[in-house]
């Protein structure tokens, strides 16, 4: 029994894929030393999308909540960093947890009154929330957000003295360190009662409540955590780009994040990484195709869902593939 307990968690996740894991790790570490700044930046944005995908995965992948407004949390994180840094000189690194908290608090306040809404209605409300954030940013209330041009002149993160993160390589390692830490925390959560509670809610909310799960609390928790992670992504993004503007946080971004989770595999952490790779690397790889690029992109999305609706790397539960969750057909009446 104790062996079984040990097998849940780190050991179980890495056990069967140990060699793959070590190869990937090595590649990750030597990659930035072998390519130009441009390609390091590509990998940086891969990391940002990975973090965003992981953050939405909590809400959409684990709990199954239809969130199409996640870019709003990303925006709150980015703009909190941008405004507090440029207007009040608060250092970027301190703003990392602050941005996470701001986004988390926003999620808590905004989701509490609507968390009970059923799937489709929740969807439209999240879209609405995302749009409200974006429009508010464009309209420059209290002259805070800089309007359509956004906020510029954001600092680099620094620990004082020579320890400043200002080069592509340093940003690369920063984002991937944050992603790695997030993955660690998320795997722990997945294999705890919290992760299970989320999955119970996704499978059958009523049954979950009847089994003792405080459904409202866990749904809110998912949103708050997801928002916090998105806020962290916003902070790092803001300082890397040194400026933020509303067009980076549109409904389209929310859709991209949604696709990352679905294309990779709902509730699957390696899947999210694959999804993020697809979303961020695809435009790069297909750059030579110029304006046909997006046509191919759209087609690939359709084909992916046709042939791998469970995602590129579906969540496995004891070695059985997780694809047919998505089929809501009730097959229990067998006679």
């Amino acid at each position: 029994m104790i062996e079984e307990t040990k097998r849940m968690g780190m050991e179980r996740f890495f056990g069967s894929y140990q060699s793959l894991f070590f190869i990937t790790m090595t590649l990750f570490i030597i990659y930035p030393f072998m390519v130009s700044d441009y390609y390091i930046d590509v990998a940086f944005f891969f990391g940002i999308y990975a973090l965003l995908g992981l953050s939405l995965n909590i809400v959409l992948g684990e709990v199954g909540l239809f969130d199409l407004g996640h870019a709003g949390f990303y925006a709150i994180g980015a703009y909190t960093t941008a405004i507090l840094n440029t207007k009040f000189g608060v250092p970027i690194l301190i703003l990392l947890p602050v941005s996470a908290l701001a986004a988390a608090l926003f999620a808590y306040l905004v989701c509490s009154p609507i968390i009970h809404l059923r799937g489709d209605y929740l969807c439209i409300v999240t879209i609405g929330m995302g749009e409200i954030v974006r429009i508010a940013l464009i309209n420059n209330p209290f002259d805070l957000t800089g309007g359509p041009n956004g906020v510029y002149g954001i600092d680099f993160p620094s620990l004082g003295g020579p320890f400043v993160i200002d080069s592509s390589i340093e940003y690369y390692f920063l984002i991937w360190l944050v992603v790695a830490l997030s993955i660690y925390g998320l795997i722990r959560l997945q294999h705890s009662h919290i992760g299970r509670a989320w999955n119970y809610i996704r499978e059958d909310e009523v049954a979950a409540g009847a089994s003792g799960v405080d459904v409202r609390h866990y749904k809110l928790l998912a949103f708050v955590l997801g928002a916090a992670l998105a806020g962290v992504a916003g902070n790092i993004y803001a300082s890397k780009l040194m400026c933020v503007s509303p067009e980076s946080f549109s409904f389209w971004e929310s859709c991209l994040m949604f696709c990352i989770v679905l294309i990779g595999g709902m509730g699957s952490i390696p899947g999210v990484l694959i999804g993020a790779a697809f979303i961020s690397l695809f435009p790069e790889i297909f750059r030579p195709f110029a304006m046909y690029r997006m046509l191919i992109f759209g087609t690939v999305m359709i084909l992916m869902m046709m042939f791998r609706p469970g995602g590129a790397w579906p969540r496995k539960r004891s070695g059985i593939e997780f694809t047919s969750f998505l089929t809501r057909k009730d097959r229990r009446r067998d006679g």
Binding site: L189, G195, Y200, G209, G212, F322
Partner: protein, 265 residues
């Protein structure tokens, strides 16, 4: 069958007083009074649409009644949220089995222990010793329950892949994993063949004898009702129309069947 003087010697575990539930223009449950005594198996019977499941849903917190109260072990639980009621000690199963289909049998049962876990977010992320202990306890309870329903070999199988009869038992095991004092079962024998029904009856009476538990069930199968109940309550059109020991109800049943017979259409 247990001693029928149970009702006189044992305390009341669950009581409904004047329970009334209205949906739009329809009064599904109308001034329903009942009590269930500790250690007994009490059956709630009646034609379809009589309001039995609505009573269950009110007792387990899914609905809030318009009028009346529900008292569990002396405390008012009317209108409380489902997860609070589970934590207080009432666990249920559903008429149309509601398992978590894409999770393993073991994980399904582990859901029951959720309300007994007190560690939070940080405990889970940092794997505090309390969290590890509670995880271990959860597994232990789930494993012992899955052995009890004789599905140990299927513990890592996805719940949707096991046989219908096993799914019914799995749902009961999940309810038992909450460490309940009152088990509320909604048509547990529905869809089971005669052998499975017999096993179920044996299982339930075994539960009463071995554990400190009370069972309230909705049933249509008269073999089950007559076979294991200590007390039977009859509902029709939202009201209680009779109650008594199984033999009493059985004879009364002739009258009721005549009543029902004239009613079916």
């Amino acid at each position: 069958m247990v001693d029928s003087d149970l009702r006189n010697t044992q305390p009341i575990v669950l009581e409904t007083k004047n329970l009334t539930k209205v949906f739009g223009g329809l009064t599904a449950v109308n001034a329903f009074d009942s009590h269930v005594h500790k250690g007994e198996i009490c059956s709630l019977i009646g034609p379809n649409g009589a309001g039995k499941t609505t009573v269950f849903n009110a007792v387990t917190g899914i609905y809030t009644p318009e009028k009346g109260h529900i008292i569990f072990n002396g405390s008012y639980i009317t209108g409380h949220k489902p997860h609070h009621i589970v934590a207080a000690g009432i666990a249920r199963t559903f008429q149309n089995i509601r398992l978590f289909p894409n999770m393993t049998c073991l994980e399904n049962i582990m859901a029951g222990q959720h309300c007994r876990i007190s560690s939070g977010l940080w405990g889970a992320v940092l794997r505090s010793s309390r969290q590890k202990q509670e995880e271990q306890e959860t597994r232990n309870v789930a494993e012992s329950r899955i052995r009890q329903i004789r599905l140990w070999d299927y513990r890592h199988e996805l719940a949707k892949n096991i046989a219908y009869g096993s799914q019914r038992m799995l749902e009961i095991a999940r309810a038992l994993a909450t460490n309940p004092t009152l088990l509320v079962l909604d048509e547990p024998s529905s869809g089971l063949n005669p052998k499975e029904t017999e096993d179920l009856m044996e299982f339930l009476t075994g539960l009463i004898n071995e554990e400190d538990i009370t069972i309230l069930l909705i049933e249509h199968d008269m073999n089950v009702v007559m076979g294991i109940s200590d007390w039977v309550i009859v509902m029709d059109e939202g009201k209680k129309i009779a109650e008594g020991r199984p033999e009493q109800i059985y004879h009364n049943l002739r009258v009721i069947e005549a009543y029902l017979g004239s009613d079916d259409g």
